[in-house]
Structure formats: structure tokens, C-alpha cells
Subunit: 334 residues, 6 copies
Amino acid sequence: MTFKKVITLGEVMLRLSTPGFARFTQSGNFLVTYAGAEANVAVSLRRFGIPSAHVTRFPDNDLGKAAAETLQRHGVDCSEISFGGERLGVYFLENGADQRSSRVIYDRFNSAFADIRRGDINWKEVFKDAQWFHYTGITPAISQGAADVCLEAVQVANQLGLKVSGDINYRRNLWQYGKTARDVMPALIEQTHVMNAGLADLENCAGIKMSSFAEGCDQAFRQFSKLEYIASNERESVSSSHNNITGMLCARNKKVITSEKYEIRNIVDRVGTGDAFMAGLVYGMITKKDDEQVLAFATAACALKHTIEGDVNLVSVEEVEQLVKGENVGKLLR
Amino acid sequence: MTFKKVITLGEVMLRLSTPGFARFTQSGNFLVTYAGAEANVAVSLRRFGIPSAHVTRFPDNDLGKAAAETLQRHGVDCSEISFGGERLGVYFLENGADQRSSRVIYDRFNSAFADIRRGDINWKEVFKDAQWFHYTGITPAISQGAADVCLEAVQVANQLGLKVSGDINYRRNLWQYGKTARDVMPALIEQTHVMNAGLADLENCAGIKMSSFAEGCDQAFRQFSKLEYIASNERESVSSSHNNITGMLCARNKKVITSEKYEIRNIVDRVGTGDAFMAGLVYGMITKKDDEQVLAFATAACALKHTIEGDVNLVSVEEVEQLVKGENVGKLLR
Amino acid sequence: MTFKKVITLGEVMLRLSTPGFARFTQSGNFLVTYAGAEANVAVSLRRFGIPSAHVTRFPDNDLGKAAAETLQRHGVDCSEISFGGERLGVYFLENGADQRSSRVIYDRFNSAFADIRRGDINWKEVFKDAQWFHYTGITPAISQGAADVCLEAVQVANQLGLKVSGDINYRRNLWQYGKTARDVMPALIEQTHVMNAGLADLENCAGIKMSSFAEGCDQAFRQFSKLEYIASNERESVSSSHNNITGMLCARNKKVITSEKYEIRNIVDRVGTGDAFMAGLVYGMITKKDDEQVLAFATAACALKHTIEGDVNLVSVEEVEQLVKGENVGKLLR
Amino acid sequence: MTFKKVITLGEVMLRLSTPGFARFTQSGNFLVTYAGAEANVAVSLRRFGIPSAHVTRFPDNDLGKAAAETLQRHGVDCSEISFGGERLGVYFLENGADQRSSRVIYDRFNSAFADIRRGDINWKEVFKDAQWFHYTGITPAISQGAADVCLEAVQVANQLGLKVSGDINYRRNLWQYGKTARDVMPALIEQTHVMNAGLADLENCAGIKMSSFAEGCDQAFRQFSKLEYIASNERESVSSSHNNITGMLCARNKKVITSEKYEIRNIVDRVGTGDAFMAGLVYGMITKKDDEQVLAFATAACALKHTIEGDVNLVSVEEVEQLVKGENVGKLLR
Amino acid sequence: MTFKKVITLGEVMLRLSTPGFARFTQSGNFLVTYAGAEANVAVSLRRFGIPSAHVTRFPDNDLGKAAAETLQRHGVDCSEISFGGERLGVYFLENGADQRSSRVIYDRFNSAFADIRRGDINWKEVFKDAQWFHYTGITPAISQGAADVCLEAVQVANQLGLKVSGDINYRRNLWQYGKTARDVMPALIEQTHVMNAGLADLENCAGIKMSSFAEGCDQAFRQFSKLEYIASNERESVSSSHNNITGMLCARNKKVITSEKYEIRNIVDRVGTGDAFMAGLVYGMITKKDDEQVLAFATAACALKHTIEGDVNLVSVEEVEQLVKGENVGKLLR
Amino acid sequence: MTFKKVITLGEVMLRLSTPGFARFTQSGNFLVTYAGAEANVAVSLRRFGIPSAHVTRFPDNDLGKAAAETLQRHGVDCSEISFGGERLGVYFLENGADQRSSRVIYDRFNSAFADIRRGDINWKEVFKDAQWFHYTGITPAISQGAADVCLEAVQVANQLGLKVSGDINYRRNLWQYGKTARDVMPALIEQTHVMNAGLADLENCAGIKMSSFAEGCDQAFRQFSKLEYIASNERESVSSSHNNITGMLCARNKKVITSEKYEIRNIVDRVGTGDAFMAGLVYGMITKKDDEQVLAFATAACALKHTIEGDVNLVSVEEVEQLVKGENVGKLLR
């Protein structure tokens, strides 16, 4: 089966993480990968067999090239990546354990991506052969230019009949260019068909204050006319080593459905697990008819990501499907 | 106390495993050891104080030598290892975590060991000063030559009055030289006194289909006249990080006895845990009078192996005995 | 807020630990740190914002210098460290997992520190600007000289009005210079205001045999007139990977109070967790009015140490306080 | 400037090398890359800005996928790679130093690539948008199928007007399927325009025994009518750490020209240096008019490869050009 | 012998270098240190036994703290370091080999240090107990604030009678805040007694164009009245692995003297070798009477730094003196 | 061809070396091997095909066992090793580079081996099936007991007709138990047939002061009646990275012969190169008739050891012979 492309837009950063459980101050080397919330979705989809292309901007130096090669390695189409601007954004990660939290230090201001401008991307060209556009709430938080480009993208996507998904992902420490999430996000959500958002995201980005996901969905569907689905992956953080994950999905005019709960007790790397859920959702919606199956796939994909080093979900469709069915879970497969 | 030797026969492979929890595609280096199911038993016994010798065939190159040195390091007598043939078999291991399974890719065809031929080994000479011969169901699955040599060995061992143990270990993906396990295994089991086998092994190798271990034992004792003991280590795979292990042992004309259950929640390396059980069984039968004690030792040895990196069970008799007694478990011993 | 100094006295050793879960015999490299029970307290306090100085003796070679630099890195005042004597004590650590215990091999005899002699340290000078002196039961166990210097220190500390804390920490394998703990410890405890001791410590060092901590405290308060507080961190070792920690504190003429119990199920490194408790206790007593808060802080500090590689507790006051309040526990903090 | 594609055909193996200068028997881990003589050329060209596609066959497992991803990372078009067959060929590398030689152990028989068959590749399709086809003498040495496919390729390439280059690279230990190099190579060289070959290659593959490169060229040009260029990179092996490299190039009816000699005294990795020369040659012939410049570029590219870890030449056109000009050589470029 | 302090001012960055000879794009981890040209001098002096304090500004996060701890570890007084501002500057280093150059990518704009402002530092306080102030031409190139603070420092230093040294170190890629080196440097050099500068530095910072170091010195002495010494370490870059180093020193009204030439053929890390020369110069001028000895010490210190991993010169006075005397060079000292 | 055994006696230590070129103070991990001058000879001979057994004493802990396993791995007979005593001696190694010297810190006092006593070893038993006994001047320097045992050994060896070789290896920092080398060594040399000694050794151990090796040999032959050969490997230390090695050999009543000079310019590890020479000498004398060939073999073995990580010479007879013949030197052998 061949599929039309999924297009993602967003910043890709250099991720520097301490090995094992070392704290920043005790680490003599940092593990290096390159990742970003939206690119993680593109990679995951590509590994699931859906062609994907990522749109971003890198500095024209060896770090920018290394970042692009990382995406290219996974088969993501990088032909729309532009090179220029000041620097590659960086984030530093320290893995927690048990009661000790994981910590991220961002150093992403003035990045090449922040420098992106309305008109830089020929979206009509980019969306040729595409069926889906995906963005997150991080992009419009980075700079006015990034917000503008994101808005352009969702508008053109709608014109061309692509589905649009948005992972609202409210990040309090971004949004430093003079606008707030409340100023910017509603216009984006207005053009979105599939939204991933928890209650805090809904409140911070759309002013929806509700005590349950079901109520939040109700109100969001009323407020945003194109929305077809709202999803959320609920995380219970018992400790840094042990999280429980449940997925929820609400179709317009339907009840909220809830997935199986996965207990992950020996977490390897929890960064990117939300992106894994999102990719699973997009994959499910493209390939499956049944909402329960879509949610089951997305949640199982999310669960498996907790066992993968790095930001991206290096698992196959077959592995996710087996977890959904409870087959071969935790075995030694020879 | 000095003991007569235990002789083991079987292929030793180069094991290449990804470090930590890396997947095959993301790993820039592989950890290197050399191991095989039967050699693992020889090493474990040697570390328990029982002299052991391993019979195998390696290619005459630096990898074959490295494999031999690895056994030699643990004190296993390597004087009967021959050098020649095409290549060293390889297996690649990727450690799972939580819901993600561990995976093995075998690349063992056309190995030097597969090339072994009836008559290559002077078993009468090899069995001098020996009290026990151990084989597994992997060896006869590799090639006609390997099956022939294994049959020779169990026959001569019986002639010379050695005990013979066999770890039936049915591997569906082997058995590609034109014979099936059902064709070959019964003649071997016929010469075996101590058998380690689960229900699936009994079915695939001896056509015994039963719903309980006790029934399976009953029938196996009827079918194979020399069998004195049948053992099995039952594994409950909660996840790749958490297995529960229980041992079972059935002497001819006795009831099945069951060991304590060990919960291992932070598995380090589960490969070779069956071999550790087997080595514990042989050690127990050589040194202990009481079946309960034999089984307790074997199961505790198996449990401890889950905490050891690599295939071989680098623990001492004292450590196993302490776990059996529940002493010093999980402490910091200064 | 500025604080007066805390002074600690004790041996600092080269710690050589196998990486991951490797056993001693399979490890091709050892991780290197430099640590000691009392210096661990000095480092932890310094990181909590309390100035500290450590008194010890190192051999005058690059290893001694490396040890001093390690303390210096954390901001501990090293100006009273002397250089000379034979060698740096070493300890080798192998991390256990699950049912397999962790193991320490000490190689600390004839160390530079064992060579220390009464009169070597000008305690009046050292205690200038200081408010607290801390020692452990390890120091007087090392050599007659070390015991003498420790006794000198507690005496001068009392003369100058410093608080004195002692972590009785009975080590059966030390005490080889002709004296027993029972000979030496009572005179030290006599000069101690805050004592950390479990029941076994009380019995071995002061001959107090009791079946409960409360009773043990009663008797210790009667026997040692300056004692104001007795604390203990109770450890339940479910396995090498899973310990439960509860703190207890008893003020003279008060009831024993008990902290929350912390379950640590994926231990990273349990060495130094007692020192972390001790440092939390000293920090708490210097900065807090309420005994419950003191104990809560100490126990939470101890719990967090289990997640830190190496001997020293690289956590901030803020992190400990958050754990006490149950905030941000096991999260990903961006 | 945009270029038409260069197509390469050949086996890609898993390369396992000991880190640093460790010998095989002392190495607890192997560094992992995936490489092959022809794919190395494709990668190098792609990094020089020439689009390239590699044709090969991988087993349909995670190792085959990892190999493909490695090429894909560098931007090589992998759309013509097929998946199937037994196994991925492996080669083990031990780096020498000073007087000690480097050693390679091949384990490549029965590989997925050896399984390739005439007709598997639709060369007309593959050669669309292509200007050049490159093969080496390794491919026809692997199996009859590989030799057949290679012959097909050079024939179709000639029909379609592509340039064909061949790196004759006589490997005595291959050629085990019943044919000799003398049987097979002449028909390939007959269809070749640019040949890289030393005297030993000429003798073993074409029966040309000459004492100088110039004479060898003379005779080769007479014998093979399509040959336009013969090149050779001469290596003087002072030690494993110190090689001197000179390039030679002879156009039909012209004199042999000789490049500058590069002394490389601290070799990092000499594997793939011949492929780097070959890629430089192809790049030069595509982009430069002057034979001296072509040879200068190829030789400088070869020299730089000695400083790069792994098989592939991760340098840019700019870096090679600067070495040719003697600019910025051995500097710290900020 | 006790010495008064040397004070240094300048940015300290996070240095991220690829291990071994890996290129940026192939490196899965970066080695981490924290370093800066002036701090390197402070560390080197402290290890030579001269107390030193470094003045800088770090962001108030774990990376800033790690940077400070790195200096503190070496015994540098960090009490005047302030915390605040945006981010820690970063530089990425790729080690060259043979003909391949080493490369640095700077990512240092908007750093906490760039944020420093005139008046932030109480120089009178800082210079108490100090005998020497050292700066480099990098500091005034970073921002107007940094240039202002540097000018303040040299002025106060002169008022208080401290010696001032400046390592003019022209960096074309800095100087982006609207001023040129020619605008800013002369006022600084005017207050400098000991200057380290090559011909290119003299031209770019003071407009002195001369063809020989002697002539350049002549003119500089005429132009800058306080200058007492001008030094330069001449580097001959045979390759990235092989540099030859010669030191030159010219006292006012004296002839240029030239040191022994050191051939370093297996360079370990050449970053910071200029700072090592500078530190040797300051150490020499503080402790030695003879200009020849001063220069010999500085040049030998510089030579040894090439063998040390990281930016800072971890050698002792004794080691430098032995190299000056030609004793114990390249031996195995037991 | 089968050979009778070579027996060696001596201490084996834990070797802890910094990785790469790290200094002691900057290293977060140490590489671990176990080695000693005499055991290095036993290992090298075993790898050359001569059976060997090593006599020593280890502490009865996991480090002692690891040391024994290391020898056992190489095939050295360890059946005469006894377990007991205090501790395993340790030595710390820091590799130099270029002008910076390598450094060793010994921490070997009070080792298990130092505890060995006259009568502990049944030399008659040990020497059964042996043809040669080898000792070094390190053993008698360690303790009176070690000196006594060594004297016993050489005496019994002579009684039983074994050849005795001694590597006089004067170590000024040992000899701390009250005797000097001059007191002890002559009696040992008196029983020695093959001596490896430089001029400094001859002077310090036998009072022979001469200006040339030839004169020193003359006098030594006069003084020690059993001496048949005196050998020496002359080392020219250009730098830590570059040594030149020449071997010399003098048979009684013959002229000194001198080997080819090997220039080793990229030294990997020079520890144990003297032991490699010694092993080559013993191997040569056992297997070759011609003194020139013996010396050529020993010197080439010594040269190759410089390229091997660790103390022991992991090269084959074939590799040494090829270097002697100048074949395959510094090549890539496929």
C-alpha cells in the first residue's frame, strides 16, 4: 500500500543528554542526537511506512548538516529544509530516576528556525502529494516569523484539502516575543482537524477551563468548527522510572473513549513519548477505520517509546500491533 | 573435595549485543562476548568448583581463538576443541525493556561447528575422568554431523557409565538440514538420565502433548526408560524488565516438586538463564542428596543469572546458597 | 543568609567501581571517584549552602591531589588537608541488582590517613568560624592515631562550643589495631550532641542491647549526658534495586518521630545514602526549628541520594524540599 | 549546478572494528559501521554534491535496514536496494600501528548480495537520469550472479551512453565460485572507460605483466578499446601509522602524470582510502577539464581519507580543494 | 614561598569536542569541558603554585555552576564570579589529524558574559592582595560591556600598581557589536606591561605592519609607553598532528631572544597552547630574574600543553623545568 | 613440536591506567588489566606455543581471582598459584605523549606476594616437565620472603638441570626491607645462565661499572661462572611517542652482536616491552640455533609490543618472524 505524504513543520534542536543517570555537573560527556517534537512525528510515521517530509531551517554549518542527516537517515524527505541563520537551538537533558525528576535546560533562542519568515516556504509546492500537515504549539511560541509560517501552512493545507493535526503543547517558558498563546493559538486551532491537548493546554491556549477531558472536548468542539478529534495521553508519574500511560480520544459528537493503561516501570527515556502518541494517532487515522483501534495504536506506540533511547520512536507497526494484542510482550524473540 | 569432570558439547558463537537499551539500528558499537548454551553450563559448573571440559569446533582465526580463550579464562578445559571450518557463528542481541521485547538475530549457518563429523571426537578419550555428559537440543538441530556426533557422545557416555543430561531446547528456526526434531531427538533422550524440558519441548521433540508438567513427566518416563529426572524452569514474563521464575523437578516415580518463586524486576540480562538453571541442576545432583535442595539451588542460580551481564552465570556456590537461605539478599556486603 | 562552617574529619578513599552491573572479574575498566563518609557530608552541606571544611591526610602524589581536587570542586575548604604518608586507601565497588548483593572490597590499610597523629591538627585554628564538627565511627576504627585525633577534635569542639555530631557506623572489619569499638567509642559519644546510630551500632559501640529504637534511645540518653538527638535511617532491602527508607529521630525527653517511607525501586547507587541522611540532619538542625521538618529533610535527602551516581549527594536544597512536599516528584522539568 | 546521477553497484557489509589499537582477542566491544567499496564511492560523491544511487541487496532484517539507513543518512538514493537472502556479509577489522599490520577477517560468503541474479535489476530504469556507472572487481568475484549482474550493468550503461568506471581491485581470497578473475574481468574492462588499477591488478585480471605503470597502461589501452583513462594510487607503507600516497593518471595517447606525494604520518583509518581516490577521480572527471586537476583532486581526497574514522570519506569539496592548494593544511580553523 | 594573586577576566564557555578524530556529523557523543583563554591562564598559574582568581559571569543554571566548579576544582578563586544572564557560550571542536585541519564552531553570542556591564565588578576589591591582572583581546571583542569592563580593569590595575598582561589574540569573527579592534585595543595596550602578540595581531589591533617580530616590537614599544615586554609563540603547522613551537621575547631596549624549538609530532590537543605559553610567561616573570629563563619556561609549558587533553595545561612547574633542562623527556617515570 | 614448560615466578599487580592521554587528575575511569614482569613473559611464551606456568600468590578475593583468570585466559598454567595474604598490589599508569613522560605510581607494599615464604612452593614438583625457569630482579626486591623463594627456585632449577634466565631490572624504589640489590642479586646471578641487563643494572646489582656493554659482559662472565648469555635491549627515547629499539646479545667467549634498530614513532603502550624482549629471547633460545636469529626475534618481539595495549605481548610467532624478514610490515592484511 502506498500513502500520500505527511508534512511536518518545526524546529529541530541538538539534544545533549548526560549518559546514564549522571547530573549535569558530573558529566564528562554528553550524548548527541538531533530532535524536535514535529520531526519526531515525521520520523515515527516514516518508520511506520508513511512517507513524510519535514520543513525546518538549520544554520549552514556542520551541526545543521548533522541534524538534517539524522532525519534523512530515517528516510524523512529533507528537500524543503533551508540553511541559514545564526545557530542551532540546543537542549540539555538530565535523566531522573525514582523520586528525582528529569531536567531540561533549553538554549534555543536566536536559532536559525526562529529566523524563518512568512513567504520563505512555498506551501503549495510542499503540499503536493501530501495528505496531512502536522504542527505543534511549540512552533508559534518561538518567534513571530515561526507563528506566521505556521498559520500560512494550516491555511494552505485547508485550502488544498489536507487534514491538519496540532499537538497543542503549551510551554510556559517560550512565548517571549511579545505574544501569548491565547493571542496566537486560536487561529491555528480553528484550522485544525485533529488536536492533541490536555486540560492545561486547553486552558492556556484556548481559555477553556474544565475539570474533565470530556467537558473540555465539548467546549472545544463548540469553539472550533473544523475540529474532528481531540486526543490526550494521560500520564501518571509515579516516579521518574515509573509512569502509567492512558490514551483518550473524543470524536465530535461521540463519547470519550479510553485506552488500556500501560504501566512502564523501568523507563529508558521519556522524552518524545507525547510525539510518539501523536504519530500513532496520525498513523491510525490514516490506516484504520475504528476509533478504538486508532487510540489503541497511538497509546501502545507511546508506551513503547518509553523504552527507546533518544527522542524518536524507533519501533515498527508490527511491534505496536503486537503490544495492542498483548502478544510477545516482554519476551526474548529469537 | 575433588570431582570428576563434566563434559559438554555444543556450538559457541560470537555474541554481539547493543549497549544499554539501544536498538540495532541506532547502535554505533556492539558488546562482544562468546557463548553457547552448553558452554555456558561448562563455565557455570567450573565456577561452582566442578571441573569441566567443552567440546566444540572453531574456525582457525583470531575470532575462534578469542572464543576459546573466553572459555579458558573461566577454567574450562579446552584441550578437545578443534580448529577448522568456515566461520564462527554469530548472534546479535538487542535488549528489550518494559513492554518492548528483546530480539535475537542468528547468523550461524555454515559455522565451523556445523562442519563437525562423526568420528572427529574420540569420546572414549574425552570421557576419561568424567562423570557426566551434557548436551542440548540445539546441537542436533544444527547439522547432520552435529546430530551424529551428539548421538555418538550419549551412546559412549552410557557405555562408560556417565550420567547424561539433555536440555531439550526446541528451536523452530534451526532444523534446516532435512531432519525434524521428532526424527532425531527421541534417540538422544533414550540415552538421557536428566532432562530439562518444558511442555512445548516435549511436544515438539517427543510428541508428548499434555496440559500439565506432571502429566508430561509421567508420559516421558514411560516413553524413555533411562530418564531419572525431568526438570523445567517456568518463566512468567511480566515485561522485558520483570520476569518471575519457578523451578520444577520430577524424579521417576515421585511427585513434581516446585521451588520458591523469584521475582526479578530489574533484569540485567536474561540470556543464558536457562543454562544457569541447568548448571545448577547438574551441580545439585552431583553434590546434594535431597531433590528439594537440588531444585532450590538450580532455581536460585537461574534467578541470579538475570543480574549478570553476558551469557554466563558468574556467581559462586556461596552466593547461590545464600539466596536459597534468604541471607544477604540485595544487601551491600562490605 | 550566611552560616558558620561545619568541619568534618575522616579518610577519603579512591573508589573504583565496575560500570553498570559488571562483576569485578568481567570489568575492563573501573569508574573513578574519591569519597569518604565524612567528606560526603561536607560536600553535601556545601551544596546545601553551608560552608564546610574537611580535615584529612593524603599521600603526596597525583592520586592524593586528585582526591583533594574532587572535594575542592564541590567548594569544600581543603586548606587543612595535609599531604604525606604511604598511600591512598582504595575501595572497590560492584553494584548488585535484584537478588544479587552489591559488594565492596576494602584496601585501606596503611593509608596516609591511618598515619595521622595526635597534635597534627591545630583544632583551635580549624574550628575558628565553625559551628559544628562531624565525625563517624569509621575514623577511630582505622588506627590509634586516627582515634586520638578524633577524640582531640570532639574535646576541643566542646570546649569551643561547637555542636558535635557522630555517625556511629560500626564496621566489623576495621578495628584491627588492638582496640575494640567498645573500648574507644564511648569516650567519643560522651562528647557528641547528635548521634546517628541503629540498634546494631548501639550494641557494638556502647553495649546497649535493646529491641526497639525507642528503648535504645532511652538508654543512650541516660548513658551519654551531652546527647541531644539520636537519629536512624531504617532501610528495608527488598532487593539491590529496591530499598525502602524511613527516618527516625528522637530528641532527649521526647518521643521518637518517624518520617514518611520512601520506596526506591530503581536504585542507581546506594553508597553514601547514610551520609546523605546525616548531611540532611545537620542541615536541618542548622536551618530548621521543627524536629519533624529536620527529619523530613534528612530522609528525603537520603532517598534522593539513591538516584545519584557516586558517593556524594549532588542535590540542591530546593530538590529536597520539593520531595518533602511531594512536588515535582518524578517529572520532566523543562 | 546540478548533476546527473552516478550509479554504483556492490555489496555493503557490516564492519566490526576493534576500538583504538586493541587486538581481536582483547576487545570487549566492536565499533559498528556499514560499508562497501562501491557504496563508499557513492557516499563520497554525494557529499561532493553529485547525486548518487547505490544498487545492492540486503537481508530483510534489522541489520540490513541499518545498513540501508547508513547510506540514506549520507543522501545516497537507496530506492533500488532490494531486501531478501540469507545474511549480511561481515568484516572484522583490527587496526595496526607502527610495524604491526592491520588485519581484516572476512565473513561474507552466502550473503544476501551474493544471491543477486541476472534480471533482478531493471538497469534501464536505474540508469534514467544517470551519467555514470561505477563497479569494482570485488563484485564479480563474489558469485556468478553478481558477476552476471555486473556485466549486464556495464553493457546497458554503454548502450545508454553512460560513462563506466571500474576499480579493478583483485582480491585473491574471493573468486571461489569456479571462475577466475582472468575468466571474468576482461569482458567487464572491455566496457569500461575509466579504470583504476595497479600493476598487480592488471596482471591478475588481464594478464598484463609489465614493470612500469606506463607500460601497463600502454598495453591495457591496446587491449581494451573503450578505455579512456587508467589511474592508480601508489601507496608506500612505511608503517601502519605512516603511508605516503601518490596518484598517477594516464589518458589514452598521453603520458602518465603524477601527483604530489602526501606523507600521512599519523593514520587514523586507512580502509576506504582507495575508494576515496576513486570517488575523487569520478568527481574530477565530471567537474574539471584538466587531467592534472582531476588527479590532484583525487589524490588529495585519498590523503584526507586517512584521517577519517570509518570507511567513507567525510570531507567536502572545499576541504579537498584547500589541500590541493596547500591552504589551511593542519591548522585550527575557527 | 607565597605569592600575591593573579587576576584574570574573561568568558568561560562550554567546550564540546568530538572524541578521537570523529567529525561533527559522525559523533554520537561530545566530550565536555569548560574553558576560556583567560581562565586557562588562571588555572595554569594556580597549578604552578600562584594563587589566582577569575572574574566572569555565568548563567544561573546547572551549566553555569558546572563551569564554575571546573575552575574551583583547580583551586582558582571563584568568589568574584557573578551569576545571571541568558546562556553559557558554547564552542564545538573537531580534532584534525595529519593534513585535515581542526575546526571550531562558536556559538557564543548573547552569553551571560556578553551581558557584563561597567560597574558590575568592584575592581579595587578584586585587586586586593593581587600583583597581576591578565586579559586577552577576546574579551573586548565580545560586547561593548565586556570592552568597558576590561578597560576599567586595566586602569584600576595600573592605579593600584599591578602588572598588566594582555594576550592580543585577534579574532576576526568576533567584533560584531559595532566597534573594531583598531577602535578599542590601543587604549587597552596603553595600560599593558606585558603583551603577547604575533605580527597579525599587531597589525589588526594596533595598525603596526612590519615584516619581522623585532621591527614590530620596536614600533610597539614606541607607540605604547608602558609596554615592558612583547612575547610571541611562533607555530609551524606541519600538519594537525605535528607542530613546531618557538618562543620569542623582547624586552624594551633589548634584542629579541628566541627559545629552543620544540617539535611536537603526535599532538593530543592543541587548543589552549597559546594560553599555556602566556601562563608560563606570567609565572616566569613573577619567579625568575632572567629573560632567557622566563622564555624557556613559557615555551616548554606551551610545548607540554600539546600533550594534554582539554584546554588547560595540567602540568607542574617541575615537569616544565625538566623539559627546559632536557631531563626525563619522553621517559617512563616509575 | 611439543616443548617442556617454562616456569616463571613473580608478583602480578592490578594495573590501572588512564584512558588515552588523560592525566591522573582528569580521569573518570581507569582501564583495568593484571600484569607483572615475569607473568608477562609466561603469557608471551604461551602465545608463542611454549607451555608455561606462573608461580605467584594472590589475595583470596575477587581481584585475586580476576588476576588469575587473566593469566588463565592466555593459557598459562595457574595451578601453582596460592591464595592468601592481605591485598593485591596495584600500579597506576598515565601514558605520556611527545615530550611529556609517562608516569607510574606503585602501591604494592604488603601485597599477598610479598607475604610468600621459603618452603611455600614445592619447586621439585613445579619443575617437573619443565626446561626453563625465569625470574626478574623485581622479585627479590619485594621482601625477604620473595628473595628467599627466588633463591630456592634458582638453586633447585640448577639441580634439576633447567636453564635459568634472569631479567635484572633494578628498581631503586623497591628494596625497602633492609637488604640492597648488591646484597642479594649476586647469589641469584650466580645460578643464572641467561641474563638480561643494561649497564645500570650491572652496576647496581653486581657492582660492575663499565662504559660499554661489551666490557660489562666481559666482567660479568668472569664474575658469574654459569652465565652463558647476556642480553640487553637499548632504548633511545626520542619522546614518549617515539622510541628506537636495538637489541644486543653476547655469548660467553663471543663478540657482542647487535640487532636491526626499530624506530617506533606512534607508540601505543611501552609498558612490558622489556618483558617482550625477554620472552623473545627465551623463545629464541629454545627454538633457534643461531644467536643472530635469537636476537632478531627478541628485538622484533620487543618492537611489536610497543603497538599493543596492556602489558602483555599479544603477537604470534608468525608476526614476529615476518617483522624479522621485513614482510607485511605496516600493511593491511586481508
